[in-house]
Amino acid sequence: MERTSELKYLLPVLLVISIAFLLLQSSYGDRNIPISIATLKGGLDISDYFLTPLPNAIHASLFVALFMLTHIYLRIKLPGADPFILPAVALLSGIGLIMVLRLSPDLAISRNEVLLSVFSRAPDATITDNVHTLVQMGMRHFINIVLGILVLIGALNGFNKRAFSWLSSKKYCWVLLSAVLITVTLLFGTKINGRKLWIFGFQSVEAVKLMMLFFVSGYIYEKGKGIELYRQGGFKHWLGYAVPFVAMWFFALVPLFIQKDLGPTVLIFVVLLLMFSYAGNRSTVTMLFILLTLSAGFISYNIGYPSIVRERFDMLLDPFGRSEAMTRVLWAISSGGLMGTGIGYGQPHRIPEVQSDFNFTAICEEMGFVGAISIILGYALFLHRCFKIASAAENVYKKTLVVGIGTLTGMQACIIICGNLNIIPLTGITLPFISYGGSSLIVNFLMAGIVLKISGEK
């Protein structure tokens, strides 16, 4: 029954995505993308990646096939799994794929122009030549989605009862592991865009987020009744009560100083606070933490350390005077209007880092108010199902984990969407399932797999 209704929702979504692929392909022809461009390293045939009708035809059919196969796999293996998760994931990742495929030729061409003009004036300038990466971005994103689906299927298989109990028993292991991972990344990681965040092509912060969820769920599960036990245990248990909050500060502040970015800090802080609150934390303590954080932000703004806080708040208050990027984002969002300019007919490549941080802006510009609202609704659906599954799940560990996953996804989307809309200070985190970035995409699919698995095991 569940699988039939899943098919009923999945098919229209896949149809819409397929039509969008068609529009994308027609826009390539309409926009007159050059067949090949002259880069610093010689000619580059863009047509190999985009122009021939084949790639998008392959992308579209493969995309549909992938999700249909996942659906069939679920039908066989896990017929009781939630019917809404897969359509929501299909909608979000489909729009994300189309956006990346649409952006990558434009980004490559405009980047190439910048490079050529810079190097013609100053031949020894230090500027990254990433034209080839940008050209291949669409392809890579697609491969990441395929990997993500494989990981999702792997999660459906792997996360059985024993795995969950193992996960929950090794809870401190996750803290250690994430600490090790961060250290290793800092020592031996690859440097991209001046920041050391990658190890073996994987962004370690994304993995740390997931480990953090495992740890917190395990911690709460430990005594069966969650935090409430420590809370009611009196003064004796103050250490036990304090552990998660210490962990919260650890997880939250590490990325601030490693990544020099507010996004993960705020995200981890809020998600953990919400999870503790869900597990039965005192409301006064939650409020205290919120107040503390706000005052910390206020002090940080006034003393100007870390400098990013003041920078971002200035940007929020006066986008047209302080930040060219934010101004460009607002221009892009506003030019969308109700229905948008149409896929491929806007100019989102004028925004810096549009493929990762400002993906939502590109969607706003090209798909309009309607498209943006449908993205928000997609996340709302995912979140709603997570909470439904959590309230139906059998034990506290699973409950907390699913709530954690839902909150993490929802909060991440909220922070970046609100940041894009200049409601809160802008922070550089990815839009789950949509933004370009392999690690984040795969981790998101893994989380979706865990949610599906938990929902199926009743």
Binding site: S277, A279, S334, S335, F369, H384, S391, N422
Partner: protein, 603 residues
């Protein structure tokens, strides 16, 4: 408990989603236009440059603006910023011995709206099809250029169009047409099939370039304005404002200084926009009111009592007689010459201040009513038939004043009771001073209305608008009647009076227009050529206290005015000339006007 907590989290997310959805609606639909048109200004960098100037790191050495490199390095800016400072030094400029940084140079405009479409702005042509402004597209470099065929003489009408300094006058007012936004796009075929070039509309003005240039040259550096109107249609044949600005100069410091100069006002269109006291030329309006009133009485009484025509005539003419003495009269009005006993005819011919001050006070509000008939106290649309354009001349004011624009208030008239309470102000108004101010265009309209038998035509500037491919005519102007001010008989009598002004009155010493071989000229080869009768009225407007403190600057010469039309018997063109601070109207303005009229009649 957990369910309750989950609900709290859900509510939080619902609130967040609601806020996001509302802001989306706000940014994408409600404030769309506002956001899209906002410029980005790099305040951080502007502040940095200002700081560098204040600290003396950027300084002037004689004519050059230079950076003190040592201090700049000592400041410890990073390399990128320091390079940017070095590059931006060309945007610093001197003004009044102080150094400034042009913040405009670091602002970014959202040129997203135009997309890949290039707009080839339409040309502007004069009435004979001579191009005044046109855009050219260099297809190889894909660069647009706006060219102005004529120099400063056309600037007050055509204006300029610039990405940095904005646009002015017709380039601004007609932008919707010149950039082809008024209808479905028409594209130009170019070598590159994927680049779209949108054609703007071609605008034909009523201006005659020959008259305009002739009049501009005649002004010869004097400050002032000339407006030439076609009497029968209301077309504006010339609208000169001097001194003027040449839009062909390279954009840069000259532009910036010109548009910032509030004293010289090279950028101003004095013909439509500047308000001057009209001086004695306003007496034509007062005289028309006086004569028309008595004409009205005569007509009424002749129909009632069947008086003879001769009786009526004598009554209409008799009217008021005043003794013009060398002393100030009761309204503090004096004359340079003593005119003795004058009636209305004589008073207009010799321009007697004391006579007009008295009939002005007698007429009171009626004078304002007649002035409003001529177009005072209301804005004059220069393209009256296109309702979507608001290209209007500054309202001329007759015994009224414009409230502060910032407060959004309009024109306040001097109320009826005040006329009796303060007759001195009314008396000064009647001779075109104090609360009466007019644009040159308005005074030309007065002359044109008298020449046109009392019918006031709305002056207009745009003759026709065609699509860029010359296929379709979008707009074609027709004369628009604003109303009728005076009776035909009154206009006829004023016309003959104004002709007598030029023959035996204040304008008798002005050079004459001769007809020689079908051409009109003021310097004939043969002195026995027939003379063309010209009608007009001179004016010498005292420049009151500019600062509104009751002190009249003795160094400031009076404005020299002239309004008139030609030929006097069958008027075709009307003119208004003002030369700022050039003294008597008969000496400076009138000769210029006569020469321009002779040239204009030759078309």
């Amino acid at each position: 408990m957990a369910i309750y907590r989950l609900r709290v989290i859900t509510v939080l997310f619902v609130v967040l989603a609601g806020v996001a959805a509302y802001s989306l609606f706000d940014r994408m639909i409600l404030k769309k236009d506002e956001i899209v048109s906002t410029r980005y200004r790099d305040k951080k960098f502007t502040d940095l440059m200002k700081g560098l100037i204040n600290e003396g790191i950027i300084k002037t050495t004689g004519e050059e603006i230079a950076i003190d490199e040592e201090l700049l390095i000592a400041k410890g800016l990073n390399k990128k910023t320091a390079d940017r400072v070095r590059r931006s030094i060309k945007f610093c400029y001197m003004k009044k011995d102080a150094l400034y940084f042009d913040g405009q140079s670091v602002s970014v405009l959202n040129n997203r709206g135009s997309g890949d479409e290039t707009v080839l702005r339409g040309s502007i042509m004069d009435r004979n099809g001579i191009t005044l402004a046109k855009s050219t597209l260099d297809e190889k470099a894909w660069k647009l250029k706006r060219e102005y065929t004529y120099g400063p003489e056309m600037f007050p009408v055509v204006g300029h169009y610039s990405a940095v300094y904005g646009s002015r006058y017709l380039e601004k007012e007609l932008d919707r047409y010149l950039s082809g936004q008024s209808h479905d796009p028409i594209y130009l075929t170019t070598n590159d099939p994927f680049k779209k070039v949108r054609l703007g509309d071609e605008v034909t003005l009523t201006i005659n370039n020959r008259i305009q240039k002739f009049a501009y040259d005649l002004m010869d550096g004097k400050k002032g304005a000339i407006v030439v109107l076609d009497v029968r249609t209301g077309e504006i044949l010339a609208a000169v404002s001097t001194p003027s600005f040449d839009p062909n100069t390279k954009e840069g410091d000259t532009w910036r200084n010109t548009f910032a100069d509030r004293k010289e006002r090279l950028y101003e269109n004095r013909a439509f926009g500047a308000l001057y006291p009209p001086g004695s030329t306003f007496k034509t309006v007062v005289a028309s009111a006086w004569i028309d009133r008595s004409e009205g009485k005569r007509q009424a009484s002749s129909s009632l009592f069947q008086r003879t025509a001769a009786d009526g005539e004598s009554q209409g003419r008799a009217g008021h007689v005043t003794m013009c003495s060398s002393k100030k009269n009761r309204y503090d009005i004096s004359d340079i010459h003593t005119h003795g006993r004058v009636d209305i005819d004589r008073a207009l011919i010799v321009s007697c201040n004391q006579f007009f001050s008295e009939i002005g006070v007698t007429l009171g509000p009626e004078m304002v009513k007649y002035a409003e008939g001529y177009g005072f106290n209301r804005g004059i649309e220069l393209v009256p038939q296109l309702k979507d354009l608001h290209c209007s001349a500054t309202p001329s004011l007759a015994l009224s004043w414009q409230e502060d624009q910032a407060k959004g208030a309009g024109i306040k008239t001097y109320h009826g009771k005040d006329f009796r309470r303060n007759p001195k102000i009314v008396a000064q108004g009647a001779i075109g001073q104090n609360l009466v101010v007019a644009t040159p265009l308005q005074m030309a309209m007065v002359a044109a209305a008298i020449a046109n038998k009392g019918t006031v035509l709305n002056p207009y500037l745009v003759k026709e608008i065609k699509t860029g491919d010359n296929w379709e005519r979008i707009f074609s102007a027709k004369p628009v009647v604003m109303g009728k001010t005076v009776r035909e008989e009154t206009a006829e009598r004023l016309r003959s009076l104004m002709a007598r002004v030029m023959e035996s009155g204040t304008g008798k010493n002005v050079k004459k227009v001769y007809i020689e071989g079908g051409k009109h000229t003021t310097s004939p080869k043969d002195n026995k050529s027939p003379i063309l009768r010209v009608a007009g009225k001179t004016g010498t407007a005292e420049v009151g206290d500019r600062n509104n403190n009751g002190i009249i600057d003795p160094d400031e010469n009076a404005h020299s005015w002239f309004i008139g039309f030609a030929p006097a018997d069958n008027p075709r063109i009307a003119i208004a000339v003002i030369a700022e601070n050039q003294g008597l109207g008969g000496l400076t303005a009138a000769p210029i006007a006569v020469e321009v009229m002779a040239e204009a009649l030759n078309r």
